[in-house]
């Protein structure tokens, strides 16, 4: 994203340039969070984890394991029955909807089905957070360049005047990414960004996620059920010179994997630990060369 059109985000947002030098700062923390609907079995069951600035969390799990609910709870869209949620070290558990708006402007979210407003054009969709998030102040004359930059980032500048219904599934997903990153939020939540897409488009989407992370040093949570998505995030870096993804090498990418099962966290660790894990449920999400050969 071009810095010249970056909107003003409140002071508590971390300075991106210093992200790596700073001591680990908690961006998102769950402490024993339980969520259930209509008195049924909990969708999230005493979930605890801590995401530090600059980390990328890849959340794997079967359908119905609570991945989407986790992201919506993190965003404050769902209130937990018990436990505490912290965003940028601020307890947001009991905050009212209006109070949450200021914190939400520091978070970008890509919804599972893109959730673009179908009565608005692509440009209006991308401009929506700039116009409606009170804590973000963008001059009128900066609006159009900011939207254009964001769409250029996902290589869809030419679709500004189109409606979401005129776009393919992959393009809609890319526009949704443009909308999520237009305010340059320090935390990004991606809900199944590759679900229902062909492998080529899925790779394009994941490459954009890596590009956003490395270009802006953002913290991210990527919910997926495809191990290859996590593998790409964990082992590749965006090269701004070539515009391509290069292997991260020994430096790594500060990626941590989490595996969810029936609302509980059954694994949390790096890729090496994940691949070494002998748990039969966890093993189902890991693509191992020896297993593939067998």
């Amino acid at each position: 994203m071009a810095e010249s059109t970056a909107p003003n985000i409140p002071d508590s947002a971390p300075k991106k340039a210093d992200a790596k030098q700073d001591a680990p700062v908690s961006v998102l923390r769950f402490e024993g969070v339980t969520v259930s609907f209509d008195g049924d079995a909990p969708v999230l069951d005493k979930l605890s984890f801590n995401v530090h600035r600059g980390e990328t969390r890849v959340i794997l799990g079967a359908a119905g394991s609570g991945k989407t609910v986790l992201l919506k709870t993190a965003m404050g869209l769902i209130h937990p029955d018990s436990g505490r949620t912290f965003l940028f070290d601020e307890d947001v558990t009991d905050k009212a909807e209006v109070e949450l708006f200021d914190i939400r402007c520091k978070i970008g979210m890509l919804f599972q089905e893109s959730a673009l407003f179908d009565s608005m054009t692509v440009a209006q969709n991308v401009a929506y957070p700039l116009l409606n998030q009170k804590a973000i102040q963008v001059q009128r004359d900066q609006m159009e360049p900011a939207v254009r930059n964001s769409l250029r980032f996902v290589e869809l500048e030419q679709t500004m005047d189109k409606y979401p219904s005129e776009l393919s599934g992959g393009m809609r997903r890319r526009v949704a990414i443009a909308r999520a990153v237009v305010t340059n939020p320090p935390l990004l939540l991606y809900d199944s960004p590759t679900a229902g897409l062909d492998p080529i488009t899925a790779h394009t989407i994941m490459a954009l996620i890596v590009k956003e992370r490395d270009a802006n040093n953002t913290t991210g949570l990527v919910v997926t059920h495809r191990y290859q998505d996590g593998n790409l995030v964990a082992n590749f870096r965006y090269n701004p010179n070539s515009g391509r993804l290069d292997p991260a090498g020994a430096e790594g990418t500060n990626t941590i994997f989490m595996v969810m099962k029936e609302g509980r966290l059954v694994f949390e660790g790096n890729q090496t630990d994940l691949e070494a894990c002998k748990d039969s449920y966890v093993m189902k999400f890991v693509k191992r060369p020896e297993l593939e050969a067998a």
Partner: protein, 256 residues
């Protein structure tokens, strides 16, 4: 027994909470004036054709039936009096309310329901907008402004329909018809005729919004929400009509 009642009680509580928040938002910023105007166009102007048709034919049918009854007593000249009182006090507000409920409660429920099941409502909240402020309050204000106007149109067109039938079937002179129409109405009727649609407008808009915002289960859920919105909005209009009719009757008795 308690479990059976839990659902409806929860629904009523949720509806009143939505109503409270929607009304409170009228006095809070931001005000989405563009959305209000857009909804006034959609709910108000868009409903004019159906209001014209139902208004004309309901007035015509009323004059036809009333005139037949009055003919036995040689009182066909008073057809206009009956048509105007029934239209302004009861049939105009109720018919307009039910027609607008059929058209707009369903439209609101399906629009908001589609937004709900495709996570657009969640996206709106995530992007810093209160969906009640942005979606519910403008629809509530627009309906509250437009339904009384539509009722006036319906009443007037109904009277024209009644006048035509009175002239064609019972040879009532036009001048006499309009004279009885005018003389039959008192301020209580006009107040009743305008207060009722104002109150119904909240049922029409808020019930549509309520069912739309709680839609779940994909397209089937949206369909279910739409049906429930129309059914409950129509029932609410008849129930409110009964109680408001009783209140206005009481007021008119105090006056005499």
């Amino acid at each position: 027994m308690l479990d059976t009642l839990k659902g409806p009680i929860q629904a009523v509580q949720d509806f009143y909470e939505l109503t409270g928040r929607a009304i409170r938002n009228v006095f809070r910023k931001p005000h989405y004036v563009d959305d209000i105007l857009l909804q006034m166009e959609s709910i108000g102007v868009g409903s004019i054709p159906i209001v014209l048709l139902t208004g004309f034919f309901s007035g015509a049918v009323m004059a036809m039936q009333m005139g037949r009854g009055l003919q036995d007593y040689g009182q066909t000249g008073r057809t206009g009096q009956f048509v105007s009182i029934i239209l302004v006090r009861e049939l105009g507000p109720v018919l307009t309310g039910v027609m607008v409920a059929g058209r707009n409660s369903s439209g609101i429920a399906s629009e908001l329901g589609s937004m709900k099941v495709t996570e657009q409502i969640d996206a709106m909240r995530a992007l810093g907008t209160d969906p009640i402020q942005k979606l519910v309050t403008p629809r509530m204000i627009a309906t509250a402004l437009m339904l009384p106007c539509l009722t006036i149109i319906d009443d007037f067109i109904g009277m024209i329909g009644g006048g035509i039938m009175a002239k064609v079937l019972f040879s009532v002179p036009t001048r006499q018809y309009w004279s009885t129409v005018w003389r039959a109405l008192v301020w209580n009727d006009v107040a009743q005729g305008l207060t009722k649609p104002f109150v119904y407008s909240f049922a029409v808009s808020l019930i549509g919004c309520y069912y739309g915002l709680r839609a779940s289960g994909g397209t089937q859920g949206v369909g279910r929400a739409t049906t429930q919105a129309v059914v409950w909005a129509s029932i609410a209009i008849f129930v409110l009509d009964f109680f408001m009719g009783r209140i206005f009757l009481g007021i008119s008795q105090i006056g005499t």
